[in-house]
């Protein structure tokens, strides 16, 4: 019973975080901030959902898969977001007017 309750809570949390990430993707002004929302929150949401379902299912392999999924997502998401951010900058995505200074001005070519 306890695993159902815990699983349910985790699933709800995960789904909520994903919903917020989607909202962020809609409302945020420029690609870079959207990228943060998508990768950071998205990954956490998906990870929590997997973990929750793993626990809810209860069997050892299920939990193992859930944990493995969570670990893998957390391990690789920084890489993905780094690559995406860099690519977005190089590909010349528009910076929101509110940005004060463009730290990467001289560092990376920008077409």
């Amino acid at each position: 019973m306890i695993s159902d309750f815990l699983g349910g809570v985790l699933i709800l949390a995960g789904a909520a975080i994903i919903a917020v990430a989607a909202l962020g993707l809609l409302r945020l002004p420029d690609p870079f901030t959207r990228m943060h929302a998508a990768t950071k929150a998205g990954v956490l949401g998906a990870g929590l959902t997997m973990l929750g379902v793993g626990i809810a299912l209860g069997s050892i392999p299920a939990v193992m898969t859930g944990v493995a999924g969570m670990v893998f997502l957390l391990a690789t998401s920084p890489l993905a977001s780094h690559a995406l951010g860099r690519a977005a900058y190089i590909s010349g995505a528009p910076l929101a007017p509110a940005t004060f200074t463009d730290a990467l001005a001289g560092v990376l070519p920008r077409n």
Partner: protein, 139 residues
Amino acid sequence: MNPSLILRTSAPLLLWMPLVVSLYVLVRGHNDPGGGFIGGLIAAGGVLFYAIARGPAAARAVLRLSPVALCGLGVLVATASGIPALLTPETPYLTHFWWFPTLGVTLPLGTALVFDLGVYLTVLGMASALFCALVEEAQ
């Protein structure tokens, strides 16, 4: 295509991890979702990542064999898995045989797995050949 330092350094870790997953998917394919095709694709994904991070030449080095030769090997292995059926009289080609060695836990080993390995290698070879060629193309 000069991928960033982070990608280059993380390349080996993120090559072996998909390969391990793909082998896991391949081996249990007979009972749970998975199998030769999916395993091959995941492994090829890893190779793709390595080709992007370290360049196609490095990816080929990792594969030891050239991707196209891998295809040939795969088809060979798949065909070879039918040989035992050929040897035993009047069993049609490619019927699979099973042994159940018990090393602690009974491990179902069969020529079907060999056939699946053949499929795995072919798909891996085909996809990585495609990717290496494409990445070279993109440079």
